[in-house]
Symmetry: C2
Amino acid sequence: MSGWLVVAGLGPGAQTLVTPEVTAVLAQATDVVGYIPYVARVASRTGLTLHPSDNRVEMDRAQHALQMAAQGKRVVVVSSGDPGVFAMASAIFEALETFPEYLALDIRILPGITAMLAAAARAGAPLGHDFCAINLSDNLKPFATVEKRVSLAAQGDFAMAFYNPRSASRPHQFARVLEILRDHCEPQRLITFARAVSTPEEALNTVTLAEAVPDMADMRTVVIVGNSQTRRIGPHIYTPRSAL
Amino acid sequence: MSGWLVVAGLGPGAQTLVTPEVTAVLAQATDVVGYIPYVARVASRTGLTLHPSDNRVEMDRAQHALQMAAQGKRVVVVSSGDPGVFAMASAIFEALETFPEYLALDIRILPGITAMLAAAARAGAPLGHDFCAINLSDNLKPFATVEKRVSLAAQGDFAMAFYNPRSASRPHQFARVLEILRDHCEPQRLITFARAVSTPEEALNTVTLAEAVPDMADMRTVVIVGNSQTRRIGPHIYTPRSAL
């Protein structure tokens, strides 16, 4: 059995943010599996079969990838950003628990530039000190857990990055998160809404917590909340390396 | 004035983890500034001046980089990992506050693969759910702030990544952090010590919190603490996407 399975991060969008390691593994693949818009970022070529699939079928996709690798295929599961940050790497391991017959497979994870770090770089350095990454979606956890974590992160004066802040099916929850922030943080706290960073649709918008409204975020937005020391210097937003 | 200043992340060590964006900007640079081992990773060539400097002189280095850019040079400040995560990007903006005469300069930050994400990928997906990144060094903040943040992160059942866990000048603090974890977490909690990931000196070691001792970490180690759901599946360590 010479097949393998790699879960690779394509970064936030731009080809110039794809690591050479990922480019090299894609050149060796026989099969690429993933969510439709991510698979669309892989160039087709002879000998490569693309398997795009819809969102919210992560477990089917993971099982399919394991099956093909077990058949001797060289399979790359593509994720946007970094596959280990709210993406496909954990889904592959969950599938592996369900199907232990694939345990001996050669499985590797290749990191990528995750959305919050691409967004932070574009804004300046808002995550330049201790920070938390929180997925605001309650598809896989109770919303009370989201609320508790945002509250604790604010109490610890962490900077924060929010993934999946808002969707059509969850329009009210980000409003609740802003309320929690207002309970703990001063109105001048800086919040950056970074949409589709490194793509043609890129848009950055930094406002104060007092000015922030839920409509500023959608599913393609990463939201970065500064800590109490985060400030503007010219066009840049940054968090100093020191803390009180 | 056609000079510019870019703060670029070289990733954790391997050349295959340097983004094409960073490689391209290094090819345009006239001057490269940074900590000695990071500058050593940039190939010398005609027309490029390398300016290696010692650790703990971040502000001098930042001022020097700003000065050269103002003189029309094309300056790249190199960081290991991602420049926005406990690295040079914030130092540059701190210098810019001190020397506002450089405010009009063209300053850009280019992201890189940060150590915790390279380490997580090598281990599996231990940061696959909400997590915190905490710098354990008290060079720039009171150690009480470190203690408070670790405690709150544990209370929130965040996974955690610790940067700069331990050095010769701070041998006892990581022991205190392990004590705080033991106050909040079960003895079976998984901890991965990831040293020098993607370099020839790479070494990974995953133990339980009960087994963890301070000697397992040094300044080249990133420590990843799982959340309460983090588990082993075969040789992999992962955190499920769901939470209680």
